[in-house]
Symmetry: C2
Subunit: 202 residues, 2 copies
């Protein structure tokens, strides 16, 4: 079991922090209002970014590169801009991503992007869907990805359903998928869905 | 059965034109090299844009707004820019899309975006996957979407698996998904895959 920092106490942060504690980790949350980003990050052997995407770079700057160095920095945020109403746009996309921005800002952290493609409730209870679906994971460090996958397994995800899409530049794909996800949420009238990859010969 | 123009004779154009002919339509293809975009578009009651995304606006300008007016303009293209190598970027995305650019350039056409999220072979033979998967369709005119769905059914798609994601602005989502699709193609080592939406209670 590990000491894990969860930055952000919105829906995602609360859900992840609660589940991490449930499965036995020692969890400390950090928030902007309490000024506890750095304290939490210093505590964590693993740091989870569950802040809103638009606030993530600032939150992680407050957390401090020195408190993230050498650690797995699990990024769940999406760079969504709701300032113009619905549907939101992405503050960064196409040839860059929030995952990469975070990696560049904290070069000694091992950024792993995972769980950003589903709603909070599903993140910690994939069985809600009654069928196996897929998650995407990316990041530059294999060992950091393995660490996140191990935690995801304790959440109920099967490692065979977690697709490693490559280095952190693959976040361009998993973040841009949000533009489709948002449309689907609208027409399906629920955020509680995910996708399953089907390939020939499966 | 209809008279259908297929603009573009690359892999997608050839595949679609062949299948449309197989299921009984009268098909005329248009190419840039032969200068036959306008001729084909004038012939078609339905016009399919199967040109490369980077060339679509020019091809449709050559086809002529007058030859597209009042018709269903079925857009299969993706705005992919391969000029900087792999992975490609999108020439338009986030708050705009190729589908919308085409609709703006030809306001009297009824643009329907569909089939742009899968590889050519699957477009006309969904059973290759051995399992039901989902397609996305969008456009401003319900009747034009219905026309495309009817053709898709003759290709083997089940109407229940075709998700209407809304008006043509939803192309922002289905085109941006390509950024994920390309990564998946790389790690799955095949373009012959698709996604299935799974929601709670299904």
């Amino acid at each position: 079991m590990s000491r894990i920092a969860v930055l952000g106490t919105g829906n995602v942060g609360q859900t992840i922090a609660g589940k991490l504690a449930d499965v036995g980790h020692e969890v400390k949350t950090g928030t902007r209002s309490d000024g506890t980003y750095a304290e939490a990050a210093a505590f964590g052997e693993i740091v989870v970014n569950a802040t809103a995407g638009a606030a993530s770079l600032e939150a992680l700057e407050a957390a401090g590169s020195e408190n993230l160095a050498g650690k797995t920095l699990w990024d769940i945020a999406n760079p969504l801009d709701f300032s113009q109403g619905m549907p939101p746009t992405l503050t960064v996309s196409n040839d860059d991503s929030l995952g990469e921005q975070i990696q560049r800002a904290h070069p000694d952290a091992n950024v792993v992007k995972a769980l950003n493609t589903i709603t909070a409730a599903l993140m910690v209870e994939p069985a809600l869907l009654g069928e196996e679906t897929n998650l995407f994971i990316c990041g530059n460090e294999k060992s950091a990805k393995a660490e996140v996958i191990q935690i995801l397994e304790t959440f109920g995800w099967l490692s065979g359903d977690i697709v490693d899409v490559g280095d952190i530049t693959a976040a361009r794909g998993t973040e841009a998928y949000l533009l489709l996800w948002i449309r689907l949420m609208g027409v399906l009238d629920t955020p509680t869905f995910n996708i399953k990859i089907v390939r020939a010969g499966d």
